[in-house]
């Protein structure tokens, strides 16, 4: 049976950039079955905020899960006020993570993240590095980068871009990839839809595989409400709506139909 009522203990919860927080939770049941690319639903105490907040898993360490989230509204504002020792209700890890099985030792993987899509790349960088894979991690932000040190520590060959030019390369991650002439055997990405689309089209032109983590506004986060969907074209060419929370959030870039209504 799946569980949505796991009790996590807050070990730390701190700001790591403007309106970006990092929370570390102790919850053995969730951490032991967590996979890179999955998310958890966090349930707030204020009952006027009905829906759970789905947050991607950034780092898995024994019984601990680290999540990085943006404070974008009243719900995440409440989340940012949790302190050491507080208890927080959460679900078991949801959705399907990245598939690393096709990557072989000695190959190169490129991980591309944008904004609040960067956190899942930390665990991914670490796992691929541990497999003996060269990991090029290209991350983009509007203004203020975060998670740079942990990514370097996890084994990333790190490239940073910002829209504002405040830090790193001035421009998009795709501009940076092209300028640096970076390439890889396979690609993994998480970030805003325009970035995912541009990157996917670029990678598919080079006839390489790309896995992308899609984001969509969720209701239940466990597959009941069908609020979060994206259009997928299967190998036979048939288009269908898939649930981002249950069938994703990670999909093959080649199967996503971007212009579907």
């Amino acid at each position: 049976m799946e569980k949505y009522d796991l009790i996590a203990r807050v070990l730390s919860n701190e700001s790591i950039a403007e309106n970006v927080y990092q929370i570390t939770l102790e919850c053995v049941d969730a951490a032991l079955c967590a996979k890179c690319g999955q998310f958890v639903n966090l349930y707030l105490k204020n009952e006027s905020f009905l829906l759970p907040r789905p947050i991607s898993i950034c780092w898995i360490d024994g019984a601990k899960l680290t999540l990085v989230y943006g404070v974008t509204g009243k719900g995440t504002k409440e989340l940012s006020a949790f302190e050491f020792g507080d208890q927080l209700r959460m679900s078991m890890p949801q959705g399907n993570g990245y598939d690393l099985s096709m990557m072989k030792e000695g190959q190169t993987a490129m991980l591309v993240g944008g904004g609040i899509g960067v956190p899942p790349l930390l665990e991914l960088t670490y796992l691929l590095s541990q497999k003996g894979i060269k990991v090029i991690t290209v991350i983009g932000f509007q203004n203020e980068p975060f998670l740079m040190k942990p990514l370097l520590k996890a084994g990333a060959d790190l490239y940073v871009a910002t829209d504002s030019g405040k830090s790193g390369f001035h421009g998009t991650v795709l501009d940076l990839i092209e300028q640096e002439n970076l390439s890889a055997d396979a690609y993994f990405a998480c970030g805003p839809k325009p970035m995912l689309r541009a990157l996917t089209e670029y990678v598919l032109q080079q006839e390489k595989d790309i896995q992308i983590s899609m984001e969509e506004r969720m209701g239940c986060g466990y597959g009941a409400c069908v609020g979060c969907v994206c259009t997928i074209r299967d190998k036979s060419g048939l288009e269908m709506k898939k649930k981002v929370c249950k069938d994703g959030p990670v999909f093959w870039g080649s199967e996503v139909v971007w212009d579907a209504r």
Binding site: D5, L51, E216, G219, C220, Y222, C225, G227, C228
Partner: protein, 313 residues
């Protein structure tokens, strides 16, 4: 120790059975269409514990639904504009019905359509299946043609009911919309044409604007408001409709706990459906059932009828 002994003996005296349009339910709780997905929900609890399950709207052919974003949270509620995405009645018959039939509960198929013909096609296809009851959705605010169009006009609501009643032997529940001026008039019209029961309410048409982006939050612009924010409206409508019809009413709209169920029963409902609560707590339908039992023990009620009869107006 004493408490648990007392509860144990009380449990034996609780009679939660209800009969809705001739179908016996072991308790008065079902799921609300649109918030229930058999495979996903059964990952969290045993569906056999419910009086019935009500499936998502099923149409004659697969529907792709509306563009995203389809969900917006509101204070004490949520808006959805899913648009009845579903794989169509053939898939429903081969996939959904056998899956639910593993469980010992009644199966209510919610039927959606753009036209009278579409409703009739789906109802006919379901006639030879072992679906226990049909809930006809003439109240979805997110479907441009059909849907709510049938539910806001007494004549059209009556016409759908008459057509469907004429082609099926299964009990027919008509699900009404609250987006009308006179709910009683529509309830009477569908009862007169042979509806066996009424579900009310469906969601209220609502809208949210993101004032930082100066855009609507939902791609569809408007959506259906559900959750505890709408419960007083649902209670009022059940109360009004109870006065004018004699057929059973399945009440729904923002039920979050056992006492909310009691409130619907006192207003005149015979059974209830749990919707938005199950999106927040997947096990809400069975938790609310337990809360209802606790409420009955605490208040000394032994049957659902007793709760209904206790209401003094």
């Amino acid at each position: 120790m004493q408490d648990s002994t007392l509860k144990q003996s009380d449990t034996e005296n609780l009679n939660l059975n209800v009969t809705i349009a001739g179908v016996k339910w072991k308790n008065p709780i079902t799921t609300a269409s649109g918030t229930f997905s058999a495979k996903e929900s059964s990952a969290f609890y045993d569906l056999s514990k419910l009086g019935a399950v009500t499936t998502k709207g099923v149409s004659n052919v697969p529907w792709t639904g509306n563009p995203t974003p389809r969900i917006a949270e509101t204070y004490g509620g949520m808006l959805n504009a899913v648009g009845l995405q579903n794989p169509g009645v053939e898939s429903f018959i081969t996939e959904e019905i056998p899956y639910i039939r593993q469980y010992e509960t009644n199966l209510i198929a919610n039927v959606a359509g753009h036209t009278l013909e579409e409703y009739c096609h789906t109802v006919k296809r379901l006639e030879d299946t072992d679906v226990d009851m049909l809930e006809i959705n003439i109240s979805c605010p997110n479907v441009k043609e059909g849907g709510i169009g049938f539910g806001t006009n007494a004549k059209m609501a009556a016409e759908v009911t008459k057509k469907v009643r004429g082609i099926t032997k299964k009990p027919v529940i008509i699900k009404l919309t609250p987006n009308v001026t006179n709910i009683s008039e529509i309830a009477k019209a569908v009862e007169a044409e042979g509806a066996d029961a009424i579900s009310l309410i469906n969601t209220l048409l609502g809208m949210r604007i993101d004032v930082r982006r100066a855009k609507t939050v939902l791609a569809n612009r408007t959506g259906g408001l559900s959750g505890p924010a709408i419960k007083p409206i649902a209670i009022r409508m059940v109360y009004e409709v109870r006065k004018v019809v004699s057929i059973p009413i399945i009440g729904l709209g923002g039920i979050m706990n056992g006492e909310d169920v009691a409130e619907f029963l006192m207003a005149g409902a015979n059974a209830v459906a749990i919707g938005t609560a199950a999106l927040i707590r997947p096990t809400a339908p069975i938790e609310i059932l337990e809360e209802l039992k606790n409420y009955m023990r605490e208040m000394g009620y032994h049957s659902i009828k007793e709760i209904q009869n206790a209401f003094c107006d």
